[in-house]
Symmetry: C2
Subunit: 309 residues, 2 copies
């Protein structure tokens, strides 16, 4: 990697969903020679017009890259791309940097990093926060674990997709930091949702309530950005309920591994599950308030007759 | 009140605790003729040097005021000052404005306002947020319910103690808005605490975690201001656990009255109660994390022998 200038550094992006696609575009815009690959041919074609070369296969995309960036939905997807026949361990050149920007189980992130290191691959776990809008704007928050030297070497690539880039420690620590982020983000969203259902139920001027709360100790990114959408019942997705649920499952698994009770995070998971159970998995996380409204029986009335089924 | 200029407007402040004392000082600094009264003679003496006249009694303080400001700990204290023999209903002149900046039960706030109105007293419920530091700096957030004309008339007094002053609706609505504020503030604090105990337990660089989380969707006033104190185990009070518990009790009562389930707020109340049970009632609310650490058994070890008592 050090032999090539930034202009000709070849970056292979694996995973071209709502996050991977704009990241690939921003990397191309920053001057890297970007090849994109996805299981979906349509996704590959969709980035081609932004200066991203279509990858012919997973293996060739990896084999032709100095830096491999993965952005995949869940742990098994990353495992498949790393350990698969045509995957990273089989096809990457020694010295390649693999940056996993997916959010996956920290323990598996550590395992995969160890396997890759044995093949001479340098690894970073670098999950992101900021959602689709952050990916499009190139302003993602990136939490990076791995060797500090690898972190320094990957700087130009990370800066092409993110704004606040924090080195948090060794392999896997980026993933745990992301889980901490999700615990705080989900819990803050629940707090906002409960405050607003109380305001709705009490018949308050909810816009005035938002203004008053935003000025003091109750202020948060969630209150400012998703509070108004909750009140307007605008559930268009910045971040899917299904992905929030996946992250809270990873939190629960990690907390279990650490023997750590997290009652608030557990409550968040239950309520997001209620949103998904009602068909809201592809709504934005602000749809959490629909579960609170249903709890408050403003969603569905119950036939009080005990004999009705 | 309209016959006097702002310079000579007489303001009686009832309640000179950690909030009322700096508020009285700021009112005097703004040019009002301020008289302060408290059940504690020491508290009255403590504000005298700041241009606040000592009130001889509750009744004379009220009788000599154009505007009465109450800042008292809980609902019964306000009830006593309003309905007591020497209190507001008995001693206030018609046309006086009574501004209750205490946080009390919204239903009682409505009752007292109705009683005062029948005596020709104009009322505002105007609970504040911002804690001691906000009171000292005169930058409190004030959520005001009552007649809009009374709100306009009281503007100069409110602006002498607060910065963000929001009219939220009729009598009692200021109190409910404050409860919404407390639901969001306490829930956000729980979210921050859980994220940080996860970071501690996983052995992360907690300062790096704070930096990373503060840049994105997990950001909040609580994370920024109380997160570092949680990590530093600095529990000096900006806002007492005991007062947070009182506010969460008011939330629980109001939610019960509205038949509204608020599981997150209920969880917060339980955990703050655990802090108080352990002797932390006079610590700052950031001590919530001590209950989470105890849950995680990093506080006390259990003798596993079932026969030991």
């Amino acid at each position: 990697m050090t032999e090539r200038s930034q202009e000709t550094l070849r970056v292979g992006v694996i995973g071209l969903g709502i996050m991977g696609r704009p990241m690939a575009r921003n990397l191309a815009r920053a001057g890297f020679a970007v090849t994109g690959f996805s299981r979906s041919r349509a996704s590959i074609d969709a980035v081609a017009d932004a200066g991203v070369s279509p990858g012919a296969s997973l293996g060739t995309t990896i084999a032709g890259a100095d830096v491999v960036v993965t952005m995949l939905p869940d742990t098994p997807d990353v495992v498949a791309v790393v350990r698969g026949e045509d995957g990273l361990l089989a096809r990457a050149h020694p010295g390649v940097i693999w940056i996993d920007t997916s959010t996956i189980a920290p323990s598996m992130a550590g395992e995969l990093a160890a396997e890759a290191t044995r093949r001479g691959i340098r690894t970073l776990d670098a999950p992101v926060s900021g959602g689709e809008s952050g990916a499009v704007a190139g302003t993602l928050t990136i939490m990076v674990g791995g060797d500090r030297a690898t972190f320094e070497a990957a700087g130009p690539v990370l800066r092409a997709v993110g704004k606040t880039i924090t080195y948090v420690g060794s392999s896997g620590h980026g993933q745990v930091t992301k889980l901490c982020n999700q615990v705080v983000a989900a819990g803050t969203l629940l707090a906002v949702g409960e405050g607003l259902v109380l305001a709705e139920r009490a018949g308050l001027d909810t816009d005035a309530v938002l203004r008053a709360l935003g000025a003091g100790a109750a202020a948060s990114w969630m209150l400012e950005n998703l509070g108004p959408r909750m009140l307007a019942r605008d559930y268009r997705a910045g971040f899917f309920v299904d992905l929030q649920l996946k992250d809270l499952r990873l939190v629960a698994e990690e907390a279990r591994r650490l023997a750590l009770p997290l009652p608030g995070a557990a409550l968040c998971e239950q309520l997001f599950r209620a949103v998904a159970a009602a068909g809201g998995g592809r709504l934005g996380t602000q749809a959490l308030i629909t579960a609170l409204r249903r709890l408050a029986a403003t969603g569905e009335s119950i036939d009080p007759s005990p004999t009705r089924r």
